[in-house]
């Protein structure tokens, strides 16, 4: 969950690039600060109140990839997006391995970048499907404390009323109807929502006897078994969101 008061830090040695991007973000309601060098950017990250970094790769002095490493050294969780007019494959790969969410090529696809920010700063929306509504409400309460907006549904037929918003994650709990029935429900849901990320909650460990690969291919990001700590679910959801952020940007990611 991103605090909306945290700013986007835009780093580019071309001041006009940083300024125009800042203006676009400002119009869309995101606060930002700009930096023309990696050194200055690092000072600003140390100063706090930065929620995300967007940095050029090719800059005099410390480049974007090195900045990425330095930023991750200071704040591991801080999302960082790299952008470049032209870089070698090698530099792009290193940027990704240093933990950048994505490497974007200039000119930026701003629609996608804004969708990225919208997901990053927006409310995290979780839909819990479980025929045990008590369990659903319990999860909703605990996640709600963490800033999630949670909807609880007891029957798959009601899902259409709550799904369809970008950035939703489905927590699929038990559903009466025998072994692997969750998977059957998931298969049915896939037809309407092929991209919806899902977390599977088993009644008992090992209940869902499917192969990991099969689960992955069905868009299951992870499984939990009852009872579980809410932190476990939280960590799983963090991972799911990072994957979603990546997926938004990945399609404009280009080497060269």
């Amino acid at each position: 969950m991103m605090d909306k008061s945290l700013k986007v830090l835009i780093v580019d040695d071309d001041m006009r690039m940083a300024r125009t991007l800042a203006s676009v973000l400002a119009v869309k309601g995101y606060e930002s600060v700009t930096s023309v060098s990696a050194c200055d950017a690092l000072e600003k990250v140390k100063g706090g109140s930065i929620g995300c970094v967007v940095s050029d790769i090719k800059m005099p002095g410390i480049n974007g990839v090195e900045l990425c490493r330095a930023v991750k050294g200071l704040r591991r969780e801080l999302p960082l997006v790299l952008m470049t007019a032209y870089s070698s494959d090698e530099l792009v790969r290193r940027g990704l391995s240093e933990g950048a969410v994505a490497v974007l090529s200039k000119p930026l696809d701003l629609d996608r970048l804004l969708r990225f920010f919208s997901l990053l700063y927006g409310d995290r929306s979780v839909v819990v499907l479980d025929d045990d509504l008590q369990f659903g409400y319990l999860v909703a309460e605990m996640l709600g404390e963490g800033g999630y907006s949670v909807k609880v549904v007891g029957d798959p037929g009601e899902l259409d009323e709550v799904l369809g918003v970008e950035g939703q994650v489905l927590v699929l709990g038990t559903h009466s109807g025998g072994k692997c029935s969750e998977l059957e429900v998931l298969r049915a849901i896939r037809e309407g929502y092929p991209e919806l990320p899902a977390v599977l909650v088993e009644e008992t460990r090992g209940e869902v006897s499917c192969e990991r690969d099969e689960l992955l291919s069905m868009g299951v990001a992870g499984t939990l078994s009852k009872p579980f700590e809410i932190e476990e679910l939280s960590r799983l959801l963090d991972r799911v969101y990072l994957q979603m952020l990546r997926r938004i940007l990945e399609q404009v990611f280009m080497i060269d």
Binding site: T20, M83, A85, D89, K106, P107, M254, I255
Partner: protein, 462 residues
């Protein structure tokens, strides 16, 4: 050289060889036989001379009472003995003569002429040379004319007591004849053997020759192949060199152009967000700038992709997903129907996914543009082939003219009003840096099919 000609030369050489060898052998044999004949004649003539001398000296003592005298008695005995003996071999004979005035008078009957009473021969004539020498008191052998003026080998010896001369002689022709005969037979046999031998030789040596010829042809082929390979490598090297320079240039240009394009893009986006709702004209113009920035960007990235020469990194890719992503993003024009047949269970390919996306996007866009007038069917299909997967993009559009089909993958070749003709060149390069191949088949007016082979394994050189 033709085989017939070769055979002829071979026969001639062998015949000449055999003839020379046989000739030398026969000549040596002839010389030996000639010398032996000479010795025999000499032995005969000396033996006869000594015998006559002995008989003469005996008669001189004991045959005084013979009516015509002792000398005649001796001669009579010799003539009698001679009459009972035909002569030496075919033509050989013994002649005995004495000098009477200017003539040589023969005393024995002759084998060849004047049988019983041979005619005298003048002493200083050219014939009967051996007898003239014997009568002159000489002893030896010679080749000369006899009383018939025929060439003979003769041995001559004086008979001291009776003042006679004795000659044993044989016709040269008789000595030579067997050797001529032998020479002819040997020569004939030699020629036959030479012809047979030559033919045999040719037959035996032909397969060897053929093998040699085949080998030399293969060698020539190999040399040609290697030359072609080297030439190709050289062309490739030049191309790579050009690409490297182009790559550096494109990299620099790309960086210098994309930054301002990025700034323009941001500024336009901002203006559109702030003022786009108001004036229609402003919105339209901002849209124009935006799409032109997009076009400029595409040209820059085409240039970068065209100059890429390093093998791509690659990863396992499910082709059906790539096809899905591309077709989702591409707005298919009206009138074009898309048929996709890319099974999900197809073998994975080892490529850089965004390269393949780029290629497929180009091919799909090209196919759709070819069907701009009148619409048609765009087919995207894939099937497993040896070593990878073949992706096919088929359209039912205007097709490519026969003379242009070799040029479609060349950079800067275009038939379109827009664009500088990098699309297919970029596609080819991107496919190749991923270890694949791209080919096109087309029929004017019927449509085109682009086949893209993508490997399922990482290239060994990577």
């Amino acid at each position: 050289m033709s085989e017939r000609r070769r055979l002829l030369y071979l026969i001639l050489i062998m015949v000449a060889e055999v003839v020379i060898i046989v000739g030398i052998a026969i000549f040596i044999l002839f010389r030996t036989a000639f010398d032996q004949q000479k010795e025999r004649l000499r032995g005969t003539v000396m033996c006869q001379a000594r015998l006559i001398e002995s008989v003469a000296s005996f008669d001189a003592v004991y045959s005084q009472d013979y009516p015509e005298g002792s000398t005649q008695a001796t001669l009579q005995q010799i003539a009698d003995a001679h009459a009972r003996h035909v002569g030496l071999s075919e033509t050989g004979e013994l002649t005995l003569a004495r000098r009477e005035g200017d003539h040589i008078v023969f005393l024995l009957r002759h084998r060849h002429a004047d049988l019983d009473q041979p005619n005298p021969v003048p002493f200083d004539s050219k014939s009967a040379e051996p007898m003239r020498r014997a009568l002159s008191g000489q002893s030896g052998t010679m080749v000369g004319l006899d009383y018939r003026r025929i060439r003979v080998l003769a041995a001559y010896e004086p008979v001291a007591i009776l003042n006679l001369g004795i000659v044993a002689k044989i016709d040269i022709v008789e000595i030579v004849a067997p050797f001529v005969r032998a020479g002819m037979v040997a020569g004939l046999v030699a020629v036959l053997i030479a012809i047979l031998g030559s033919m045999l030789f040719v037959r035996i040596s032909n397969p060897v020759l053929k093998r040699l010829q085949a080998y030399s042809e293969r060698l020539e082929e190999m040399v040609q192949e290697r030359t072609a390979e080297l030439r190709k490598a050289q062309v490739e090297l030049l191309k790579r060199e050009r690409l490297t320079v182009l790559g550096q240039l494109a990299g620099g240009v790309g960086h210098e152009l994309r930054n301002p394009l990025g700034v323009i893009n941001n500024a336009v986006y901002y203006l559109n967000s702030v003022y786009g709702e108001g004036d229609e004209k402003i919105r339209e113009y901002l849209q124009i700038i935006r799409s032109e920035v997009g076009n400029a960007e595409k040209t820059v990235s085409d240039l970068l992709n065209l100059s890429r020469s390093k093998p791509a990194e690659g990863q396992r890719v499910v082709l059906s997903e790539v096809v899905l992503r591309v077709l989702e993003r591409y707005e298919v024009p009206q009138g074009v129907e898309v048929e996709v047949d890319v099974p999900k269970g197809l073998a994975e390919v080892f490529v850089e996914p965004h390269h393949v996306e780029h290629v497929l996007m180009n091919l799909v866009a090209n196919g759709c543009q070819a069907m701009e007038e009148g619409g048609g069917v765009l087919g995207v299909s894939a099937e497993e082939v040896e070593g990878g997967v073949e992706l096919r993009v088929t359209d039912s559009g205007c097709g490519i003219r026969g003379e242009d089909i070799g040029k479609v993958f060349e950079p800067l070749y275009t038939t379109k009003a827009r664009g500088i003709g990098l699309g297919l060149a970029v596609s080819k390069n991107l496919v190749e840096v991923n270890g694949g191949r791209i080919e096109v088949e087309s029929e004017e007016g019927r449509g085109s099919t682009f086949r893209v082979f993508l490997p399922s394994q990482r290239l060994p050189s990577q």
